[in-house]
Symmetry: C2
Subunit: 108 residues, 2 copies
């Protein structure tokens, strides 16, 4: 099992991802996009799900995008967002490995 302590650089990269997830609004945005049939969601639908202003939603989407968790494309009038599964998997795996190491006991 790979349970080495993180290097400073690795921790910084991963923390950027977790930090983006550390806001209830962004988590719900991610969840709304992930749960979406077709995998793509228009911004207007996301905005409707909150009592926040458009610019605020736009800001949160930008944070998620800059963290590599989602990506987007404009098609005509509308902008569509989707999940980047590989990035989520990396973060998930770190937690999974740490939890496993802790619950199954010492590594060495």
């Amino acid at each position: 099992m790979v349970t080495e302590a993180l290097t400073e650089d690795a921790a910084a990269g991963l923390a950027r991802g977790f930090k983006a997830l550390g806001d209830p609004v962004r988590l719900r945005l991610l969840s709304l996009i992930a749960a979406r049939a077709g995998g793509e969601v228009c911004v207007c639908e996301l905005t409707d799900a909150f009592t926040l202003t458009g610019p605020t939603i736009s800001h949160h989407l930008k944070v998620l995008r800059e963290a590599g968790l989602i990506d987007c494309q404009r098609r005509g009038t509308w902008v569509y967002y989707w999940i980047v599964p590989a990035r989520l998997a990396v973060l998930s795996q770190l937690l999974d490995v740490s939890a496993a190491a802790a619950s199954t006991g010492p590594t060495r």
Copy 2:
């Protein structure tokens, strides 16, 4: 597959966990504790691994503890910290499920 959108309350609880992970120092602390043979680490060892002051490390440990990710106990002079695997597993699973939903296509 369970890929419902998160409720506001659920998102708030989960975000508290991810927020605690969203700092490089805290991520490294968690990793150091998880990688530790025996599952427990003394604060003094953690402090030595950083160029930060004791109070700063203490602060970060408190944040992790209040997020339910670690727990601690004083035994004589020293305080020992350990991972709470169940909490990490919950966060890991959320990401895993979202990634899976996004990569395998529509849920319905």
